[in-house]
């Protein structure tokens, strides 16, 4: 019964437009960033502390600071993707700059209570890096990108006149497709059907050449204001007020073409270009504590509230269609979505909350002594739960329409039904030789998709070196990220979907430079 209500609800909701479920996972499924030292040890920071990364993971870890520190963490990401789309393999590369946690930490003693100390920190970090290039190309004899437009229009309950409007409800999809005759109504016998021009190729048992290029950039940059308190080095508590700033840009170009030499099969090619930008800011809170039941041992727990973000999307698309006339001539038609958005880019304002997450951690530190020559090593492990199905959307328009409200409700239900909570595991350690340190780490991020056929995960192998002397420290790390992901060029409701398996092999080089005072 509930399922039927949901399906009815979703079918109705396609009339409105807003965000899409993929927006949810973008802001929750990414590897944790850290200083070079932290990245080298797999990103473990749930109980270890003593690093500015703690402000972004478990702020209680800042409570170990009784000194002052300034740290900068510039880095570079060397990305390489291999895509397998319907049996064809393609490769693409993308390098980008970024930065890990950078900022200031200051520890203070309590003159009235010598066993107590506290620390404050202001830091900024690129929490997520969206810089990526995806490219794949293959033949497809099963479905067409344009079918999604035909499907949307057929199920909208609207006529062509109602869609072709300067303030259209489908300005990026069905309206340009109808305008350029990529989709149209046809009369077969006595029945009207909605048909996409490339379907004539598929109907004839032939294949279409499909090519997808997607370039994304930007990231989530978070400003963290943290406070931590240390009670006799036994109990440490901390809180961080995080201000995430979102900047995301994507440029998608999808091309589909007829592979035959036939000039009388109604379709030759189309190119769909989509330019999309999201920007905004939000708030979140990170709370944590660390307990030291005995010397050397640290147990930590942290909870991150959802990030409540106010976002604005700016969207433009263009469609260039080349159809074939009955006389075999090519007919070119091109249109921008701005024709259907009052001659300006479409804008949408909305609220989005990211999923909450919880971290449980344990660390063992050999020789917690003041004399650095006697400090030997540590090993630490984190287990993190991220509730990927917990993202929520709602309108930020002053007077959201009924359609909009229904859409957002449907969207939230889809997010709940296609994503799941996952466990991420991290382990890492360090060996210390007076002023020189060597580190190794490993991290695994689980699959956020409920559908078992979508096999995704991230495995990170890391290592690094550090030097600390004369009030100065420098750390270098290298992280090799092996990500399995999927990319769906389009989604169809009444037909099987197709997707590309993406294998990412990213190398991340990070340096952290700091000064003690």
């Amino acid at each position: 019964m509930k399922r039927n209500i949901l399906i009815t609800f979703i079918l109705f909701s396609i009339q409105a437009g807003a965000q899409i479920p993929e927006d949810a996972i973008r802001y929750s499924w990414y590897p944790q960033n850290g200083t070079a030292r932290n990245l080298a040890i797999g990103g473990v920071m749930g109980s270890l502390g003593g690093d500015i990364t703690a402000a972004f993971v478990n702020p209680a870890g800042l409570g170990f600071y009784k000194t002052g520190e300034v740290v900068l963490s510039p880095g570079i990401l060397l990305g390489k993707n291999t895509a397998n789309y319907r049996g064809s393999l393609t490769e693409n590369k993308r390098n980008s700059f970024g930065f890990g946690p950078s900022g200031w930490i200051q520890g203070f003693g309590n003159k009235y209570n010598p066993g107590q100390s506290y620390a404050v920190s202001i830091g900024v970090s690129q929490v997520a890096n969206f810089n990526n290039n995806i490219y794949y190309s293959s033949l497809n004899n099963y479905s067409s990108f344009s079918e999604q437009f035909a499907e949307e229009f057929a199920k909208s309950g609207r006529s062509i006149d109602e869609v072709l409007y300067s303030n259209s409800s489908m300005p990026y999809t069905a309206a340009p497709a109808l305008y350029t005759y990529l989709i149209d109504t046809v009369t077969v016998g006595s029945a009207i059907q909605v048909k996409a021009a490339p379907e004539y190729i598929l109907d004839a048992g032939q294949a279409l050449r499909q090519e997808m290029r997607k370039k994304t950039s930007g990231g989530i940059y978070e400003l963290a204001l943290a406070y931590a308190q240390n009670n006799k080095d036994k109990w440490l508590m901390g809180a961080t007020l995080g201000i995430p700033i979102v900047s995301y840009k994507s440029n998608t170009v999808f091309t589909e073409s007829d592979t035959s030499a036939n000039r009388f099969n109604k379709f030759n090619s189309f190119t769909y270009t989509d330019d999309f930008k999201t920007s905004g800011a939000g708030l979140n809170l990170k709370l944590g504590f660390i307990y030291r039941p005995q010397e050397y041992l640290r147990v930590g727990f942290a909870f991150h509230t959802p990030s409540f973000m106010m976002l604005t999307d700016t969207h433009t698309s263009t469609l260039n269609t080349q159809t074939e006339t009955d006389s075999g001539k090519l007919a070119n038609l091109s249109v921008s979505s701005q024709t259907f958005t009052n001659d300006q880019p479409g804008k949408s304002r909305y609220f989005q909350s990211s999923p909450w997450r919880a971290i449980l951690s344990v660390s063992y530190v050999f020789r917690e002594v003041e004399n650095v020559k006697k400090q030997r090593a540590f090993i630490s492990a984190d287990i993190e739960y991220v509730n990927h199905r917990g993202s929520r959307f709602s309108s930020n328009n002053e007077e959201p329409t009924e359609d909009e409200k229904v859409y957002y409700k449907g969207l939230n239900n889809v997010v709940k039904s296609i994503y799941k909570g996952t466990f991420n595991a991290k382990v890492g350690g360090e060996l210390k030789f007076n002023t020189i340190m060597g580190r190794l780490g490993f991290a695994y991020y689980g699959n956020p998709y409920k559908d078992k056929q979508l096999k995704t995960n991230m495995v990170l192998l890391s290592g690094g070196l550090g030097y600390r002397d004369k009030g100065f420290f420098i750390d270098l790390s290298y992280v090799y990220n092996m990500t399995k992901d999927v990319n769906m060029p389009y989604r169809l409701e009444d037909r099987d979907n197709t997707f590309a398996n993406i294998k990412q092999r990213n190398g991340q080089v990070m340096a952290s430079i700091g000064w003690k005072f």
């Binding site: 072709l164 009369t187 009052n342």
Partner: protein, 214 residues
């Protein structure tokens, strides 16, 4: 790019010149142990500072921001009346000027923003069903699809589906009697907008170009 490197280098130089506390001796590693700084002796001269600013200072500060403070002590301004202040400036300077709030009406937004973003068919994220049309009888039926994904071109049984529009305004289509002929005539503006019932009230119809292209 060059600016970033320069910024990092300058920051590094600035901080290294400031960091003198641990230049000699051991540099603490806060992961292992963070040495507490000795608590400073209580300052002998520590005392509560009473901030007593003269009233004139406050008045001068306020007068910078608000003209009424400037007139407040103007004994020679016999026209000053706090209840009629700003009378000559109209409503926006004097809340007492009009007996009721001013509403600006008849504002027409000629070019409103289109707030529709990335329409997507949410049903495609849930679907396990497929519409199949019997080519002989023309009847349609929903069946549960065997596989949710098709990632291979080796399709033996590729049944094409047919999309039947659920349009509420069938007058917009000009039906043809010929088989598989695509003809469409836009309805006139008035009928199109009146029958739409959609959210297009703030826009104007867009005419489709001729099929032969530009």
């Amino acid at each position: 790019m060059k600016y970033r490197i320069l910024l990092i280098a300058l920051s590094a130089a600035a901080f290294s010149s400031c960091s003198s506390v641990y230049k000699s001796g051991q540099t603490p590693d806060d992961v292992y142990y963070s040495p507490a700084k000795p608590v400073e002796e209580e300052r002998k001269q520590e005392r509560e500072q009473v901030y007593s600013r003269p009233a004139e200072d406050r008045q001068i500060r306020m007068a910078i921001y608000d003209r009424r403070w400037r007139d407040f002590n103007d004994d020679y301004n016999c026209n000053y009346d706090p209840y009629r202040y700003g009378y000559t400036y109209g409503y926006y300077y004097n809340p007492y000027y009009y007996p009721s709030p001013v509403y600006i009406s008849n504002i027409k937004i000629n070019n409103p923003k289109n707030t529709t973003i990335r329409t997507t068919n949410l049903g495609s994220y849930q679907s396990n069903n497929m519409v199949v049309v019997n080519p002989k009888t023309g009847t349609t039926q929903w069946i549960r699809s065997g596989a949710q994904y098709n990632n291979s071109n080796n399709n033996r049984n590729n049944t094409r589906r047919v999309l039947v529009p659920t349009s509420v305004n069938n007058n917009s289509y000009e039906r043809s009697n010929t088989n598989d002929t695509r003809t469409y005539s836009p309805s006139n503006n008035s009928s199109g907008s009146s029958s739409s019932g959609s959210s297009n009230s703030s826009g104007t119809p867009v005419s489709r170009p001729a099929r032969g292209g530009k």
